[in-house]
């Protein structure tokens, strides 16, 4: 797993790539907790995410809760069909706004 952060306009743009599993999800959780404390608007690029298990979903949920508590916005984009299915099975698609690509997610932010 790799995590990379950029800025795009006033948004934090975070790319999570590779395999997010129980062995590395603590690293992701620490990163997202810190991110959630300092940012209000976050876009997550999932285009290179190959895999995510429940521990990774838990890390994303922590971030969502932090962002929602301060009235911010969190959007995910470019989920592969397999990853999208995991979100649906988990019910996470109901509260994570999911967009087809960066442009769609950015426009919706405005």
């Amino acid at each position: 797993m790799n995590v990379r952060e950029d800025k795009i306009d006033s948004f934090a743009l975070v790319e999570i790539s590779g395999r997010v599993n129980s062995e590395n999800s603590e690293t992701l959780k620490s990163f997202l907790q810190e991110l959630g404390q300092r940012e209000r608007q976050v876009l997550i690029d999932c285009s290179a995410m190959e895999y995510i298990s429940s521990s990774g979903l838990g890390a994303l949920l922590i971030l969502l809760k932090l962002i929602q508590e301060k009235g911010g916005t969190l959007r995910l984009f470019s989920l592969s069909p397999r990853i999208a299915e995991v979100f649906v099975i988990s019910g996470f698609d109901k509260f994570f706004p999911i967009f087809p690509d960066l442009e769609a997610a950015r426009i919706a932010m405005k």
Binding site: S22, E23, L57, K65, I89, S90, G91
Partner: protein, 146 residues
């Protein structure tokens, strides 16, 4: 079906063994030319089962062995996971409310929900030496088999 098309792997109760578990699933699925979508589901379900055992299965700090067996047939994959931890039937865990809003969703507890929904059958057997979970995945995308 040849016996050598079955796979058995003995893993330590450590998260560091997750990569070996993943490698085993990949090796098995390549050998059986199982569709990548199905491989993804088996991989994910097995991680959830394995991490539940590692996290909650043992009351001591001693090393333990978790035995995973994968067996293919014409139309399904049968996996058994044996551990010598304390008796625990994960199928009795309370159901996850997937309609609850984010604020009411607990951070954990999703694992067994994913296992049930990614696979076709999950059975628990309590054994004198510990637990056995049997997982069945039907091979729907049969055209992929060669």
């Amino acid at each position: 079906m040849n016996m050598d098309e079955n796979l058995e792997v003995k893993l330590p109760n450590s998260m560091a063994a997750l990569n070996s578990l993943h490698d085993t699933v990949v090796q098995f699925c390549r050998r059986w030319t199982i569709h990548p979508d199905t491989e993804f589901k088996i991989d994910l379900a097995l991680e959830e089962v394995f991490t539940n055992i590692v996290r909650y299965g043992y009351d001591d700090n001693r090393p333990h062995e978790i035995v995973v067996r994968l067996k293919g047939s014409r139309d399904s994959v049968r996996i058994s996971v044996d551990d010598d931890g304390r008796h625990f039937n994960p199928l009795l865990a309370p159901a996850v409310d997937i309609h609850a809003p984010a604020a009411e969703r607990p951070i954990g507890g999703l694992g067994i929900h994913l296992v049930r929904n990614l696979l076709d059958q999950v059975r628990y057997q309590r054994r004198p030496s510990g637990n056995r979970l049997i997982l069945i995945k039907r091979l729907e995308k049969r055209g992929e088999r060669t």
